[in-house]
């Protein structure tokens, strides 16, 4: 067992070891560099499992806390403050789980400047895990902004033809939101003489009209990241241009930083404003669900289709969170994980196809089922999971979200759930349409006839994800148990406010 005080620091900074080793390796030794990166990310995963073993699932409080003074600015302590609870534990695990998979997927896809690629990738992991664990607003902001830099390079150097445009758009868009959050963080720090989130929640008592502004400032950063309609336009560009591994992490983890931000900061810090804004957020979420689905259907490029489907799926997450009841929030958290798994896997699959055929136009394919049966079967499972077939993970999350939002007092109307349910049907339409275009029909294109089926490495990449897809779909109880006590704590904060309003 590892000392509880340092385990979160280890989870966060374990990839740094890999970075240091890679730095001294000569740039030509690609396989050595890849192996080091893979091993470093696997070590991080193992450490995160150790973290899970020490995590007390009956306790809703922050656990395994690491807290120390970092420095003092104008008399206010800025702290190195990490902690994990039911809201973040699954997301940390998702990050450490997807990173080695993504690294493994680059084995043959990234041939140029492998050294820098792996360094940026491991740095990105540090930033992402840090975002989910940081409890001091300053520290959180540092991690939050830090994730921008490696992702910017991943898109800009190893991306597709319009990579520079996409990278800059990604960077500026995200930064535009976070600078507003920075002002709100500054205000909170001045008002409370502390940046520690649990302390701020405990003190509470931010006047209602100021809560509105602070809520909006934080929401600007998070809504862009999610991305919520109508702030989503950076996402298709970033996804389409990013290298496969970048897309996997972008969809799998980076977008969750936005939804997690709402859950960790907006709702408990500004409960009053959260209750007031809930119907509006839900409205945008439902528009996102329907819009994302409709636009997905119109795509000719598979990767773009999957990218837009993210807008739709994350609408469900936001709808669940802002149902502001425990079912909705639990469903939202689970749906974050589900989307990370399903969409991550979809991007991996698209990447594998692209590596073989160097196009992602759906019209270029057809009848692949006969040529690549293993690939077809795996894609079918992932597709079904993404559209929410009962027995697979997507169903559990979406169903819980719909249940929560249907009963939600904060939303005040079952219509949100009703329209969102239409999104489930639309998802089935565009995903099955995609599947049909790629795999069914006659295999009439000559270029496709010689395509090789998946090799063992590629199967090994996908199998862990598929196992989780089935596990969550068939037996989600342990996942809900992990988050339930912490969600109850968030609910307690919210109930105190609704009581006061009455």
């Amino acid at each position: 067992m590892i000392e509880p005080k340092i385990i979160l620091t280890l989870v966060t900074f374990a990839p740094l070891l890999g970075v240091l080793v890679i730095l001294v390796l000569p740039r030509g030794r690609h396989n050595a560099i890849r192996s080091v990166a893979l091993i470093a990310s696997l070590i991080t995963f193992v450490v995160s499992i150790l973290m899970l073993l020490q995590f007390d699932r009956a306790d809703g409080d922050l656990q395994l806390v690491a807290r120390a003074n970092w420095f003092q600015l104008a008399g206010v302590n800025i702290e190195y403050y990490l902690g994990v609870d039911g809201l973040s534990v699954l997301l940390v695990l998702l990050t450490t789980f997807l990173t080695p998979i993504a690294i493994l997927s680059t084995w043959t896809a990234v041939e140029e400047r492998v050294k820098e690629f792996m360094i940026f990738f491991l740095l990105l992991e540090i930033g992402m895990v840090g975002v989910f664990l940081a409890l001091d607003l300053f520290l959180f902001y540092v991690f939050w902004e830090f994730t921008l830099v490696p992702m910017y390079f991943l898109i800009g150097i190893w991306g597709g033809p319009r990579r520079i445009y996409a990278a800059i758009k990604f960077f500026l868009y995200t930064m535009a939101g976070s600078i507003l959050m920075l002002l709100a963080i500054l205000w909170l720090g001045l008002h409370f003489d502390s940046f520690a989130v649990p302390d701020l929640i405990a003190e509470g008592n931010i006047p209602g009209n100021i809560q509105t502004w602070l809520f909006l400032a934080f929401a600007a950063a998070f809504a862009i990241k999610v991305p919520m309609w109508p702030l989503h336009s950076w996402l298709p560009d970033a996804h389409v241009e990013a290298p496969t591994a970048g897309s996997v992490i972008l969809a799998g983890v980076l977008l969750k930083m936005g939804t997690y931000g709402f859950l960790r900061f907006n709702i408990p810090l500004f409960p009053d404003a959260a209750v007031r804004f809930a119907p509006w957020v839900a409205l945008l979420a439902v528009i996102g669900i329907l819009y994302g689905a409709a636009v997905s259907y119109a795509q000719k490029d598979v990767k773009k289709l999957v990218a837009y489907s993210s807008v739709s799926h994350l609408g469900f997450v936001m709808l669940g969170l802002f149902a502001l009841n425990s079912q909705g929030i639990q469903g939202g958290i689970l749906q974050m994980v589900n989307h990370g798994l399903s969409t991550g896997a979809l991007f991996l699959l698209v990447g594998m196809l692209y590596e073989r055929r160097h196009t992602r136009e759906m019209d270029a394919f057809g009848g692949l089922w006969k040529i690549m049966p293993v690939y077809g079967a795996l894609t079918l499972i992932v597709t079904l999971s993404s559209m929410g077939l009962p027995g697979l993970n997507g169903f559990v999350g979406e169903f819980t979200v719909l249940l929560g939002s249907f009963n939600s007092e904060a939303l005040g109307s079952p219509l949100f759930a009703g329209f969102a349910a239409v999104g489930v049907i639309l998802a089935a339409i565009y995903l099955l349409y995609m599947f049909q275009k790629l795999f069914l029909g006659p295999a009439d294109k000559d270029e496709n006839k010689r395509l090789k089926d998946l090799n063992w490495r590629e199967i090994a990449i996908l199998v862990p994800i598929l196992l989780l897809i089935f596990w969550i779909g068939l037996y989600p109880k342990p996942f809900f148990e992990l988050m339930a006590p912490s969600v109850d704590k968030v609910m307690a904060v919210l109930q105190a406010v609704t009581m006061a309003v009455r």
Binding site: W70, F71, Q72, L73, A74, R113, E116, F138, Y141, V142, E145, F146, L148, V149, Y152, F153, G156, I157, R163, I164, A167, I168, F171, L172, M175, A176, I179, L180, L182, L183, L186, W187, G189, L190
Partner: protein
């Protein structure tokens, strides 16, 4: 004049006396061994630095109140001397390869540095003026040091004409203030100015304009891009950090400690100047394709960020923290900007080529270490976390919000976003375009890049030490 008077101005005295001595010594150093002058100048700066460090924590007046030595002075002196050392380091190879290696270069550098230091010592408006001229005159010469290069000569004459103009504003302002209060000593002005008179307002306004020229605040910034581009790059590097900090040294001291009664007048004015400076500097920088011009506009923008501290300091409660924030920002900016300029010097070729941003293409692949350093400087200039630039902005916007100037902080962050666009372009060109960049491999320049890059990162991750250091910057109180 007593012995005590002399010891209080010891750091300044060391630098200026050493400059005079070097003027003679340099005569005996043969033309091909001018490197010795550089080493001797650096030795003088180190001696001054040692004396300045000794003065940390002092709170005293000398020469009948003409000279002040307080925490603010000591912090600024250390900053100036540090910047001076970097300037020598960066110039050493540069002026040799440019064919302008003459001993006066380092001596002029020492003179202008002593002017900056006197600026931080000034307890009287006359001393401020004296310091301003001591700062400016050697800089005019340095800007034209690459003569007969036309651009350099043009830069010098432009800088001189506009600088002289600005000095005129300052003198006239001082005269009006004297008319209103019958004194030029800062303590005397505080005691005399009970109600703001028209003369006093006009005088302080003119004073603000004059110093606005020196720090390159909008709308008094017109000279900056041309001068920065035309002057030898090593001089520009020094000017963009040192001369700016010198201007701020007087600006903050005089307005915050001598004109507190007028705060309701200069506060809003400074607020608009700060907002305009941040906005225009960053917007105009977008259009630049020459790295020197881009950094020139960027330095205008950064003057705007420092200026945010002035309206914040109009609020007496926030003032001490705002001053510290401004000094912290200046120190952080010194690290970052000197580093960026060191990279520019590395890529500049003899004929003045290698100064377009496009010339940086391929640097990421061919010179990973240099490109990484430049990327760090660019990220720090735009204010990304884990760099000292972020802490500086955080500190200064905090002061603005503390003083109730939320909208000014908003302008600050929005313009930072704009700045990200053109700083990122350098990164894009370095890492995402291919090319064959040519660089100079010069020892001292490499050390300068390394030190500034490490400083930018180190104080971004662990700013505690530097914050504590800037925290010593306190004004000597004039209230008896």
């Amino acid at each position: 004049m007593t012995l005590h008077d002399l010891t209080t101005i010891l750091p300044f005295l060391i630098v200026i006396v050493w400059a005079c001595v070097l003027l003679l010594v340099d005569l005996f150093i043969p033309g091909d061994k001018k490197g010795w002058t550089a080493f001797l100048a650096a030795a003088g700066l180190v001696a001054g630095l040692a004396a300045a460090v000794q003065q940390l924590g002092m709170q005293e007046e000398a020469f009948g109140g003409m000279i002040i030595v307080d925490g603010y002075t000591a912090v600024l002196h250390i900053l100036f001397l540090g910047v001076g050392l970097f300037a020598v380091m960066q110039s050493y190879d540069y002026i040799r390869r440019k064919g302008i290696e003459r001993g006066e270069y380092y001596i002029l550098l020492l003179f202008t540095l002593s002017g900056m230091m006197l600026m931080a010592n000034a307890g009287d408006l006359i001393v401020v003026f004296l310091a301003l001229e001591l700062l400016s005159l050697p800089l005019y010469i340095l800007a034209g040091f690459a003569r007969p290069d036309l651009q350099s000569e043009e830069a010098a004459i432009k800088y001189f004409l506009l600088g002289a103009f600005a000095s005129g504003f300052v003198v006239y302002g001082i005269a009006l203030i004297f008319g209103a209060t019958m004194t030029t000593s800062l303590a005397g002005i505080v005691a005399a100015a009970n109600s703001p008179s028209v003369l006093m307002l006009l005088g302080s306004g003119l004073f603000l304009v004059g110093l606005g020229f020196k720090v390159a605040a909008v709308p008094f910034h017109m000279w900056t891009p041309d001068v920065y581009q035309g002057a030898p790059s090593a001089v520009t590097a020094f000017m963009s950090v040192g001369a700016k900090a010198g201007g701020f040294a007087a600006l903050l001291r005089v307005f915050v400690s001598a004109f507190p009664e007028l705060a309701s007048y200069w506060g809003p004015l400074a607020m608009w100047i700060a907002a305009l400076t941040m906005a225009w500097g960053n917007i105009a920088a977008i259009a630049q394709s020459n790295i020197k011009r881009m950094l020139a506009y960027s330095s205008i923008a950064h003057a705007g960020y420092v200026l945010v501290a002035l309206p914040a300091a109009a609020n007496a409660v926030v003032a001490p923290e705002a001053i510290r924030a401004a000094l912290f920002y200046l120190i952080g900016y010194a690290f970052t900007n000197l580093g960026a300029w060191a990279v520019v010097l590395t890529l500049e070729r003899t004929e003045g080529e290698g100064l377009e941003i496009e010339d940086y293409a391929g640097l990421g692949e061919k010179q990973p270490a240099l490109a990484l350093a430049m990327a760090i400087f660019m990220l720090s200039l735009m204010g990304m976390p884990l760099t000292v630039g972020f802490i500086g902005k955080f500190y200064i916007f905090r002061a603005a919000i503390d003083a109730g100037l939320v909208w000014l902080a908003l302008v600050g962050v929005v313009t930072s976003l704009i700045s990200a666009y053109y700083y990122l372009r350098v990164v894009v060109v370095m890492y995402m375009k291919s090319g064959e960049p040519q660089i100079r491999s010069e020892g001292w320049l490499k050390i300068a890049v390394l030190l500034t890059a490490l400083g930018t990162l180190f104080f971004g991750v662990l700013p505690g030490l530097l914050l504590e250091f800037a925290g010593q910057a306190q004004f000597l109180s004039f209230i008896p």
